[in-house]
Symmetry: C2
Subunit: 385 residues, 2 copies
């Protein structure tokens, strides 16, 4: 096992009816800005429930944080906060709203041009405004971690940052709030959580037995609940397990003491930035091809994955690995998520621009061995045509 430093102070209030707890979770004297994405929280009553729980506290709303939250939009929230002396932020939405709120929380305290927060991956964040979240979409895990991804539209750049200052103080997770989500978003959430898990699991063995088994627990649960979450949207327990699995996939527990490989995410980010493909779909495109490309390096863990997650025990090493990758890809497709670039009307002519973007963003040595250079990324994208 590798050495690690684990810290996660976010409080989770999980279950039906937990939004009422905001009355105690948010400081009594807070001046609150509620940050929102599209109109769904307004339409389905979640916002009303939140406002009721906040009671007499002064409340403002900031609407329109995009699915891939943009620096341009978020900086408007920062200006609003300064004008109105807001002192507590409450994200109500999915991972994008929470990611956006993290950036706003850090940018409001940042001394300098806040784009630097992303250019330095969060290293220069020294403090942030306090905030909490009400999660409505199980997917990114942002509700219980200190990471965020922000897009700067004008530069077509999508960059991550991390800082211990941007853990949510609390997150409220009510599975009922996911009942009205479109199927497409639920399917995206399943894939997002799945790939978060593989990025921390499908590398090379370091003898981290708990972390490996925990990761396998999450993957098996996603395989079990994913299709049910699409088929029976109002099954509380299915949605509860999906929601908690997605949180656990990126709250630091399975990633402590093991190597990571965020190459699928980094390559995927460029597909979103250039072609506006849903984040999870970019992961479904990249992962199978990446696993085929890195089969040799990842051999031991792929064999473990084949046996423990997919119960594949027949055939030689190569056959078992291939079968596991195929099952992974078929699982994504079963959720009606295309796993080829051609499903999104992209072909070989689009590869150059994608690789150029990777170069621009310094993504030239990805993967757990830093061996995925630009040529390898091109080959992985080509493998996904």
């Amino acid at each position: 096992m590798q050495n690690f430093d684990f810290y996660n102070p976010t409080r989770i209030c999980f279950g039906e009816g937990q939004i009422a707890k905001l009355a105690d979770l948010v400081p009594q004297d807070a001046k609150v800005l509620i940050l929102l994405g599209g109109s769904s929280a307004r339409r389905n009553g979640t916002l009303e429930e939140v406002k009721q729980a906040l009671g007499e506290r002064p409340q403002f709303e900031f609407d329109g944080i995009e699915p891939n939250p943009t620096y341009e939009t978020l900086m408007k929230a920062v200006a609003f906060i300064k004008e109105n002396d807001v002192d507590f932020l409450l994200a109500v939405g999915g991972g994008s709203v929470i990611d956006g709120t993290k950036f706003v929380a850090a940018a409001a305290h940042y001394d300098g041009e806040p784009w630097e927060i992303l250019q330095t991956f969060g290293a220069k964040v020294m403090s942030a405004m306090p905030f909490g979240s009400v999660l409505t979409l199980p997917a990114t895990g942002s509700e219980m971690n200190s990471g965020s991804v922000v897009t700067r539209k004008s530069l077509k750049a999508k960059l991550p940052f991390m800082s211990p200052h941007v853990f949510p103080q609390f997150s409220v997770l009510d599975p009922v709030k996911t009942y009205t989500l479109p199927k497409r978003q639920i399917a995206n959430g399943v894939v997002d959580a799945f790939v978060h898990t593989t990025e921390q699991y499908l590398t090379y063995p370091v003898g981290a037995m708990v972390q490996d088994r925990y990761a396998e627990s999450l993957l098996k649960t996603l395989i079990e609940v994913g299709p049910k979450a699409l088929a029976t949207p109002e099954d509380y327990n299915v949605r509860a397990n999906l929601m908690w699995t997605a949180t656990c996939a990126l709250n630091g527990v399975i990633g402590a003491g093991v190597p990571h490989d965020w190459a699928t995410h980094m390559i995927g980010h460029e597909l979103t930035a250039l072609h506006d493909i849903d984040h999870a779909r970019t992961l479904a495109i990249v992962l199978p091809s990446l696993l085929r490309h890195t089969k040799a390096e990842k051999k031991a863990k792929l064999l473990q994955y084949a046996e423990r997650v997919w119960d594949i025990t027949e055939g030689d090493d190569d056959a078992r690995i291939d079968a596991a990758i195929e099952k992974t890809q078929a699982f994504f497709e079963s959720l009606e998520i295309g796993t080829h670039l051609s499903d999104y009307e992209l072909d070989e002519s689009h590869l150059d621009a994608l690789v150029d973007q990777l170069e621009t963003h310094g993504m030239v040595a990805l993967g757990e061995h830093q061996k995925i250079d630009l040529d390898a990324s091109r080959a992985i994208l080509k493998g996904a045509l």
Copy 2:
């Protein structure tokens, strides 16, 4: 899944050499009291390493916290703290030293007779001194939770308390520090972690898929590393996995959103209080008999346990359950831990006093259904003769 509230702000610094981090973890201007158990930390160099990392900070030492920390001893530490204006506590040792430090931290701030902290199970704790820990014995999980058990010798009472104010700020876990532990303590640690896990898992199903699989992950890991930890004490990875498993067994994660059954612990506590049997050994005595006694209520989870943890798939329900309980008992025995009261020279004549103690401490409705009354506890103890 049941609703839950999860919060665990303890930072974990895990791995060889991490004690050096105390230099940053402890506030620079702190006046530190180091709390110790027996002489092992002094003998094996751990204390020296700790003192070196603390550097120029004013340091005191408080020795002699017992394996079952006593109110009588701990109150001396409280008096010392007040006399010397100590403002930070550092527990160096196993679960008993950390449990004791939690009580000291709460008692030093307590307005009233600190025994009330235990009489009210922590409900009246409104604040506590800040503290951290350096763990030397993997077992109790105290390094990453807010629970503590304290014995009052004069009353032969062993009582637990919990409070969000007594989470360690940090815990340093260096597996190398466990190399010199006696086999007996390692075996105890394996059993302690195992039973912590079953107390949160072997109840009734509530569809908590992640929590169940995580619990099974810990049990399987203990079954795998337990014997190796005894056979090859200096295998870093074995000790690392044992150490992290024991922490994960009681840090709140597997217990979130599921029913609990702490009956084995509560009955076991009386065995320690009256007959001074090691805590883990009392669990090994009580658990198999308790599972046999509650087979009907726990049927569904026992069947899941048989299949997923012990790979038992042959035979009818009863046979599979019996086999799983037998395997559990044999596992404890394989670690040279006696699972019968007779192994500790106790017989039927000792049962009355044990049951009386349970009554005195209000332990009259134990288990996940509060159905283990005094008669049931007597039957469980009798089943363990």
